[in-house]
């Protein structure tokens, strides 16, 4: 026994010494909270700085210079913005961006909400169909834009072909993109087609969070279909509508690919959005400063649209338990 005790004390001695030893400077450093915070944040901050803050800052800075591709600019203050205010093309782009966003967002929400309500019912192959509905959103925009480009082609449009050669309803092809107003609405239609799945699936997710007991209670009270929609579904969906609409407005207002791939802003600049005009001036035209100024000029519109949809739709007093006046 004693032997044993002795041997044990001998064997445990080194390990006890290890425990008592001071932790290394490195371990202590890792235990130091401010250091840990810095270390853990550094990659994220680095990435954000390099890939977000720097380009954004550079873009804003360029807007105040007369830089061109191939030449460093000098600071010119608000000259670019002053010029834009006198430029009918910029005003045209502001007009069309607003119109495009307004009509396309309305269309996407009307049709998307409707689609969400339909998909919320029980029917065979529900999951498959829900997946298929997402397709327009999944397909790369440039691909769907090319498809629409063919659909709207002045000579080879499938719609014109059906109307003229198959159904003989018209004598001539439809000129979708050749004059301003048809071109504008053709692009809006393409944007709505592309945006519906995002709205529908997001709203479907929202619909499924509404407790069925609310509908059961309403049915017991004898509420009609419309009343159930108006007084249960719609108010319960308000918060998610606000978020989805905010995103949708931002995506639509800053759209680029669809317009650039189908019309490049034509005919005669009638379908330029601010994003395509900024690219056209800044990269194709080489006037980096002016292009950046056009891009920066989108910011106030975006902030306004975001605040409007967010505060206009999301902040309802009933959500905080007060009366809805």
């Amino acid at each position: 026994m004693t032997d044993n005790v002795v041997s044990m004390s001998v064997t445990t001695l080194p390990s006890r010494r290890l425990v008592q030893r001071q932790p290394s400077w490195f371990a202590r450093l890792l235990d130091y909270k401010p250091f840990l915070i810095v270390i853990c944040l550094a990659p994220a901050v680095g990435l954000l700085t390099v890939f977000l803050t720097y380009p954004l800052g550079l873009g804003v800075w360029l807007a105040f210079t007369d830089a061109t591709i191939g030449r460093r600019g000098v600071f010119v203050g608000l000259e670019n913005f002053q010029y834009l205010l006198t430029d009918p093309l910029w005003w045209g782009a502001v007009f069309y961006s607003t119109l495009y966003t307004a009509i396309a967002t309305f269309g996407k929400f009307a049709l998307g909400f409707w689609l969400a309500l339909l998909l919320n019912n029980h029917f065979p192959f529900k999951s498959v169909i829900r997946a298929i509905v997402l397709l327009p959103w999944i397909v790369p925009t440039v691909l769907s834009a090319l498809a629409f480009w063919w659909i709207y082609d002045p000579q080879f449009s499938i719609i014109s072909y059906l109307l003229v050669d198959v159904l003989h309803l018209r004598a001539t092809n439809i000129d979708f993109l050749g004059s301003p107003w048809p071109a504008r609405f053709s692009l809006i239609a393409a944007n709505i087609w592309r945006g519906i799945p995002f709205v529908a699936i997001s709203l479907l997710a929202g619909l499924q969070t509404i407790s069925p007991s609310l509908y059961e209670a309403a049915m017991l009270d004898g509420a009609t279909n419309w009343q159930r929609f108006r007084y249960i579904t719609f108010p319960m969906m308000m918060p998610i509508l606000a978020i989805v609409m905010t995103f949708s407005i931002i995506f639509t207002f800053t759209d680029f690919q669809l317009v650039y791939a189908i019309t490049r802003g034509g005919p005669i600049n009638s379908t330029h959005l601010l994003a395509t005009l900024a690219f056209q001036r800044g990269i194709a035209g080489g006037e980096l400063g002016e292009g950046a100024a056009i891009a920066v000029s989108m910011v106030p519109f975006l902030v306004f649209a975001t605040l409007f949809s967010y505060f206009g739709l999301a902040r309802r007093k009933w959500q905080q338990g007060e009366a809805n006046d």
């Binding site: 007369d66 061109t68 591709i69 191939g70 030449r71 460093r72 010029y83 009918p88 093309l89 709207y152 082609d153 002045p154 000579q155 080879f156 001539t172 092809n173 000129d175 979708f176 993109l177 050749g178 004059s179 301003p180 071109a183 019309t263 490049r264 802003g265 034509g266 005919p267 005669i268 600049n269 056209q280 001036r281 990269i283 194709a284 035209g285 080489g286 006037e287």
Partner: protein, 444 residues
């Protein structure tokens, strides 16, 4: 007027190159007259190696022959040359980065105006240009314009070739309308277009945002009425009575076009012509080759003719070729090697096979190469031979600058034409608007 490359085009020509290589047959060569002139002394730097960028090929043999030529230079001088082929859309941005950062390739073959934009970053090429000038019968007008600094004899670029878009038409349809060729005057051209419209096979010229075809048509309209964007000093003179006359003519001409040309881009006219919807347009040689190489459209190719675009009031058929323009950067540690390389590539042993390999997509900048074998092949391609004899260029008739390219890229002239054609603006208002937009680009 940029020509569009179709995949089929590339495939078939590529296949024929492979067949040539396989059978060991060599393409025909012509005797090029070369004067006996002493070449400039260019002692190649020790340990020199070169890197260069150039735009991607139209056809596979272009790249093959270019690489083979570069390899011969390496064998002869021991200088390694690394050639990178860059997409057409990217080459100007890459040139800008190279020029501004002072690093990267020693040589870039860019397009038309590039050396004029980066003139202070480039070395002078006058010695080899003068040598080539004397040896090969002189530089052609377009090469002189794009190669030399404005109003001087200082060479900053070395043109390698140009590509243009003349009229392409269906012989049988023009004949059925009562013509054996397209009239060279405005009234006759309008009358022909009206007859084609009545026959249900109208003309079609791009008035949409098409960098090549749209600008080509707008420039033709202006130049053939003696209107131009700039005067010799570089002042914007687009708002002139000649421009208004040109736009009024367009107002009569436009209704004869097939519907929808205001939304056309660079491929639209190729498609409409191939589908036999139109009988007259303007395009590079690619359209003809794509028709010829496809058995389904071979008949259309057989019925197709090329002709220089109508002169109108201009002394010669006014069109500007897209020009390949080589430049050597000051930051290159081996300027002599770079110059020796460019000179080597333009010598007849290298240049003629390369020109032939391009089957007419590019036309020579030096007079003696008019005898190259490519121009005695298919007679329908022969018309492209004189592309660089044109005295018209983008930004005619002012000095070439960044702004001339920007005005094209921003479709200022195309949109001026389109707005008049579609009655969105009066000719006077459209010309004034074009002046406003152009002046913005030319403000410095």
């Amino acid at each position: 007027m940029t020509s569009e490359i179709t995949r089929r085009d590339v495939l078939t020509l590529g296949a024929s190159a492979v067949a040539l290589a396989a059978t060991g047959a060599k393409p025909a060569h012509a005797d090029i007259n070369a004067a006996d002139v002493a070449a400039p002394s260019l002692p190649i730097e020790k340990g020199a190696s070169l890197r260069m960028l150039r735009p991607v090929r139209f056809v596979q043999p272009d790249e093959d022959v270019f690489r083979a030529n570069a390899k011969r230079f390496t064998e002869k001088t021991g200088v390694e040359v690394k050639v990178d082929f860059v997409g057409w859309e990217d080459i100007s941005q890459q040139t800008a980065v190279t020029a501004n950062s002072g690093a990267g390739p020693d040589i870039i073959i860019g397009f038309s105006d590039a050396p004029h934009i980066y003139v202070d970053k480039l070395i002078e090429l006058s010695d080899i240009a003068d040598y080539l000038d004397k040896r090969y019968g002189g530089w052609l007008p377009l090469a002189l314009r794009y190669g030399r600094k404005n109003k001087s004899n200082v060479w900053i670029g070395l043109p390698f070739g140009a590509s243009s878009g003349p009229l392409v038409y269906r012989k049988s349809i023009i004949q059925a309308a009562g013509y054996d060729k397209v009239p060279d005057d405005h009234a006759g051209f309008l009358a022909l277009c009206q007859k084609l419209k009545a026959a249900g096979k109208p003309a079609g010229f791009a008035l949409g945002n098409a960098v090549g075809d749209g600008n080509g048509f707008a420039s033709w309209l202006l130049w053939s009425h003696n209107a131009s964007l700039l005067d010799e000093e570089g002042n914007v003179i687009i708002n002139s009575k000649e421009t208004v006359t040109a736009l009024k003519y367009l107002k009569e001409l436009y209704p004869t076009f097939i519907a929808g040309t205001t939304s056309w881009n660079d491929v639209s006219n190729n498609r409409a012509y191939s589908a036999q919807d139109i009988s007259l347009t303007a395009n590079g040689v690619s359209l003809y080759f794509s028709l010829k190489n496809d058995p389904a459209t071979k008949a259309i190719a057989d019925d197709t003719e090329h002709q220089l675009i109508p002169k109108g009031l201009a002394p010669i058929s006014p069109m500007a070729g897209l020009t390949l323009n080589a430049m050597v950067f000051k930051h290159s540690p081996y300027p002599n090697a770079a110059k020796a390389f460019l000179q080597f590539m333009l010598e007849k042993e290298q240049y003629e096979p390369w020109l032939n390999a391009n089957s007419g997509y590019w036309a020579q900048p030096l007079a003696a190469y008019a005898d190259a074998a490519v121009w005695s092949g298919d007679p329908k391609v022969k018309i492209f031979k004189d592309t660089m004899k044109s005295t018209y260029y983008n930004g005619y008739k002012g000095p070439i600058s960044t702004a001339t390219g920007a005005v094209n890229a921003d479709y200022v002239l195309v949109q001026m034409c389109a707005s008049v054609a579609t009655d969105a603006a009066t000719p006077e208002a459209a010309a004034a608007e074009a002046e406003r937009r152009a002046k913005r680009y030319f403000r410095r």
